[in-house]
Symmetry: C2
Subunit: 345 residues, 2 copies
Amino acid sequence: MSKPAVTIYEIAKHVGVSPAAVSSTLANRHIERRLSSETVRKIREAATALGYVPNMAGRRLRAHKSATRQFDLAILTSYEAPLPLVGQVLHALQRAVDVQTTEHTRYAVAIEMFHAGRLSEKAGLLDANRYHGVILTNTLPVDDAFVAEARLPYPVVVLGRRIPHYHCVLEAPDFVGRRSAEVLLEAKCGKPGILHSRQLTHTTSDRLAAFTRVVKERTGREAAKIVSTGLQPHDGAVALEAFFSEGGQLDGLFAVNDSLAAGAYRAIKASGRRVPDDVAVVGIGDYELAEYLDPPLTTVAGANEAMVAEAVPMLFRLLRGEESVSTEVLVVPPVFMRQSTQRRA
Amino acid sequence: MSKPAVTIYEIAKHVGVSPAAVSSTLANRHIERRLSSETVRKIREAATALGYVPNMAGRRLRAHKSATRQFDLAILTSYEAPLPLVGQVLHALQRAVDVQTTEHTRYAVAIEMFHAGRLSEKAGLLDANRYHGVILTNTLPVDDAFVAEARLPYPVVVLGRRIPHYHCVLEAPDFVGRRSAEVLLEAKCGKPGILHSRQLTHTTSDRLAAFTRVVKERTGREAAKIVSTGLQPHDGAVALEAFFSEGGQLDGLFAVNDSLAAGAYRAIKASGRRVPDDVAVVGIGDYELAEYLDPPLTTVAGANEAMVAEAVPMLFRLLRGEESVSTEVLVVPPVFMRQSTQRRA
DNA sequence: GTGAAAGCGCTAACAG
DNA sequence: CTGTTAGCGCTTTCAC
């Protein structure tokens, strides 16, 4: 059952030649080496037959130019993550890497994905032999607990949540939930509600809690909670339609991302209501389309961009071994006021 | 100027201890080894002072369990690429990798980015010591020429374009441009135009050519060409506003992606026109928000999803060394008819 | 035409 | 408490 990985030695033995012959054949250097085409054929055949997979570590070690140092960086994120965030991190990281790359310093950026809540099952995470540094994001609380316990043996910058013992960049706590509530209340909404998905990340529950708390404080009643099954526009539309058809009432909606908000727009319009006059809407996100919805969506931007702008240099400082890297950076996201919350008096 | 990379040997020499002491210190095993805290301190200091960067190839080779084979896969894409496509590839690849991962077979997925048109400057591309296999996409024609010439020394699946000597998955030529034109003509548009960005990928020029050709054939006149500076909604809005303010006329618009279409919506509405009655709009893309624009956007989906579904298994077949992998797969993208092209008769 | 051998950087086992 | 040594898989040079 446990078939050991095949090396060029096994191939060599199998064919009856030397490892060097195999190596040059597989690198297509058999011509310079003047191997007989018969040998070449046999070697190639054996390689596929035995299921040979080259060991890149071996090759790279051998090929290593001692003048260059190579940094392997990774973005560690869950599959279930919103793509725009991962993309932002990726682009910011690549841009930084571009700048830092010199003749003697190279970088590689990888994306490692895990299933939300099952980071601990991810193989190789605790090995110090894969990455020089990592940006970790889109975890669930279970994952955070695991990471806090495990103490990963390489520099880690955690994005969007706080994990003890790690360097973290996160949204100022409460800010998004509170500002969203305030925006709706300032738009004279007396019955604000919140639309979120069933699965709550650390960040989302923070926002949810702050929003409902502020609404409670200022209006004296509970904010309506509309729970969707996912984070796509469709999920938002379905959830809000159900809410309306069960007689639910609201005049202000905080959607925990812009996709849900887009879905909410449709449900609101389909029910004969108008945005913002009947229902004002606030979303979260930096999605490029938010401004192009009809009406343009007011968005508490989510601190993604600002967080990423902090996290990337932080990672490089850690890589350089700087001592004085702060362990927690709080970021205050911008709010983009647009027509979805501008109601006639 | 050329400072060679530091190894643990240099650190050892510098501090006056053995490499093993350095190794265990850097791996935080100095306690088991009962190193004096003084030595540990000196080693740590020397490491940062000399700018030590561990060689992962060395570590991994050493740590290698001979029972496991590791595949390193990469998505090779330009920075300028639309994120959704890269995300689709990434997710599809990760899903496949998840399934294929066993106790004895591990996979790593990386993203390598290059600047569109400058793939040839990307270091290490021609080395056979980084990746077992690659999915290449979002190239410009110059890049394609380079790749065709270079013959990358590992399996490559090319996505969305045809490059000689490589395995390619691409959209059926002409299809998107032709269908978009037909959709507009069927919606009784007499003056269709096309909105695209200045920078043309292989795919986009194909679409542009097919669209204008079909329009010319059926209406006898040239399609209006509206050229934007970028691919974001904003760029589309600006370009179309300029077109209108210069007295341009059209009653049907083909936007080469959904973001441009969203921007176009705004310009159309701002000019007092309505979608679809004054201007019918067709976009390209699989963006989740297309359906949630107002009115919902008719989209020729772009073959992304279908292409990815072909490309990923193809890559694995190549990795397995299968002989019979077809070198070209053509994919026909679905068309989603929505209200942006449903005009009153 | 082909094989033997050295060594890339690292760490675990062993020997003091 | 610390040093020496072997060897992970691979390729390149040298020797035959």
